[in-house]
């Protein structure tokens, strides 16, 4: 009995907590991705690079001796207009084309390559790691949890709830959802659909940037950091249902726990095949994902 409690306390609990903190990080990434897809029907291949942009900006701003908390506010504020301009002047150029899906995919993929190389040119290829703004660990039931990870989980959860509240409980969210359901009808009620698209894209980009600031102290900052994370975020969005916020949250928690717990029993090299295997199974039996669609919550 004692052995069982010991293993629960010292082996499973830390893994679960670690999985939760990664889960929250993945949700932050997946939220912007799924909102952009839900509204614009655009698969944003450059989302990971906006996450990296947030991380690089945080490194630079922290280098100017700004406080982490100020940087946490500043980075999304800087990235929001950048996202707005990218949607207005790049995405909109191909948005009304009949091959829109392919063209937006290629456009954002191209943008990702350009951004990644730009990071390499400006900041170099070597990884950087900003200092953790909250150091130390908290003891709980005899286990030490890094305080920054606890902060990340709490702040991330608040952020996720905040995004859900904005999308589903505010007039602005109702406008976004209406435009996602039926853009023609929304426009005929006076909704400036083009502006809504650009603002929502900008919101998604700002969220990715915010995730970059939050995760930089844990995962380091390097030019391909976006690619590493985006694959898991895409899997989460597909498993949860393209465009579903609830789906992204549940799928992220499920998949990261699966990765975390399975690594106790099998080699971590199998964690990616395991996650993608789940995605394949979901696609086989529920092609629209677990909660299929922005419109369903």
């Amino acid at each position: 009995m004692t052995a069982l409690f010991d293993s629960l306390q010292f082996i499973y609990a830390p893994q679960i907590i670690n999985g939760l903190s990664i889960g929250v990080a993945v949700i932050l990434m997946a939220l912007g991705l799924t909102i952009i897809f839900g509204l614009l029907d655009v698969i944003n291949m450059s989302h990971g690079e906006f996450y990296a942009a947030g991380a690089y900006l945080s490194v630079t701003l922290l280098g100017l001796d700004l406080s982490f908390w100020l940087v946490l506010v500043l980075v999304p504020v800087i990235l929001f207009p950048a996202g707005f301009l990218i949607e207005r002047y790049l995405i909109q150029r191909v948005f009304h084309h009949r091959d829109r899906h392919i063209l937006t995919l290629l456009l954002t993929f191209g943008l990702a390559i350009v951004l990644e190389d730009a990071y390499r040119l400006v900041w170099g290829a070597n990884p950087m790691r900003p200092e953790t703004p909250i150091s130390g660990a908290t003891e709980f039931l005899g286990i030490y949890f890094p305080q920054y990870r606890l902060f990340l989980m709490a702040f991330g959860s608040l952020l996720i709830l905040g995004v859900w509240w904005v999308v589903y409980k505010t007039p602005a969210g109702a406008i976004v959802r209406a435009a996602a359901y039926d853009r023609d009808m929304s426009a005929s009620l006076g909704v400036p659909v083009k502006a809504v698209y650009a603002l929502t894209f900008a919101f998604g980009v700002a969220l990715a940037g915010l995730a970059g600031v939050l995760l930089a102290p844990i995962y380091s900052v390097f030019p391909t950091m976006g690619k590493d994370f985006i694959l898991l975020a895409f899997t989460v969005v597909i498993v949860g249902g393209l465009g579903s916020i609830k789906g992204a949250v549940i799928a992220a928690l499920l998949l990261t726990q699966l990765q975390s717990i399975s690594s106790l029993f099998i080699s971590p090299v199998w964690s990616d095949p395991l996650v993608f295997g789940v995605m394949v199974l979901v696609l086989m039996f529920r092609p629209a994902g677990l909660f299929g669609g922005f419109k369903n919550g």
């Binding site: 959802r177 023609d184 009808m185 426009a187 005929s188 009620l189």
Partner: protein
């Protein structure tokens, strides 16, 4: 704007969908306070006329003016904000939005309206449509066809429409609901809101129309005074061919 000057005027409007020439030079007018019926068999271009006015499809030729201003080439939201309200075919209620969210979206037509004013308008709408008030927290999908039609009309009335385009409002509705929708359209006419009405139930629709047009293969083939028995007969024989 003078009393007789048209609110809406379409001149030689043409619309192409790929190789199909859907509207072939449509001329049409709606004057202040008028209810104008647009009749014809399915697929002759009636709904395309409404879509062209609303900015959903771009005319390939001709011009559309609303209260003296050209509106072809404007986006649908710009057209809406100029005062054209649309109750489309199939209602197009947003299914995952509550009744109240659907209604509040209708208020977007008027920019800069104070929150209190919108709330007052909403209260007035609920007083006129008590069934919508009862279902204010329900999603659009949970409403019956008749309730959805009422919501589609109420939603557009949340704005301040200076012209209403109503496309097949009675389609698929129970007789009791048909009467309610008719009473509502009669009220709108009495309030002096001009209507452009598409309806398959021609005899019933003619009872509230001032004038009418018959459309065939994307062209106006007949127009007349709906209060005139001869014109009504001519219309019915024309669209029954």
């Amino acid at each position: 704007m003078s009393r007789t000057e048209p609110v809406l005027r379409m001149r030689s409007v043409e619309v192409h969908f790929g190789l199909s020439h859907v509207l072939q030079g449509v001329d049409l007018e709606v004057k202040p306070g008028e209810v104008v019926g647009l009749f014809g068999r399915n697929g002759v271009g009636k709904t395309t006329i409404v879509k062209a006015i609303s900015g959903w499809v771009a005319p390939s030729a001709g011009e559309i003016t609303f209260r003296g201003e050209r509106i072809d080439g404007l986006t649908s939201d710009q057209i809406c904000r100029r005062g054209i309200g649309l109750v489309p075919e199939d209602r197009r209620v947003f299914p995952g939005l509550t009744v109240e969210e659907n209604l509040r979206l209708g208020a977007m037509q008027v920019r800069g309206r104070a929150k209190g004013e919108t709330n007052a308008k909403l209260a007035a709408i609920y007083a006129r449509f008590p069934r919508l008030a009862e279902r204010r927290r329900q999603f659009g999908t949970t409403l019956s066809g008749g309730e959805q039609q009422m919501l589609a009309i109420a939603r557009v009335l949340m704005g301040a429409p200076k012209l209403l385009l109503i496309d097949e409002p009675l389609e698929g509705l129970a007789p009791v609901i048909v009467e309610e929708i008719f009473a509502l359209m009669t009220e709108l006419r009495e309030q002096g809101i001009p209507l452009l009405l598409i309806e398959q139930n021609v005899k019933r629709a003619l009872s509230i129309c001032n004038r009418h047009y018959a459309i065939e293969r994307g062209k106006v083939v007949h127009q007349g005074d709906s209060t005139n028995a001869e014109d009504r007969e001519r219309l019915i024989s024309r669209i029954s061919v």
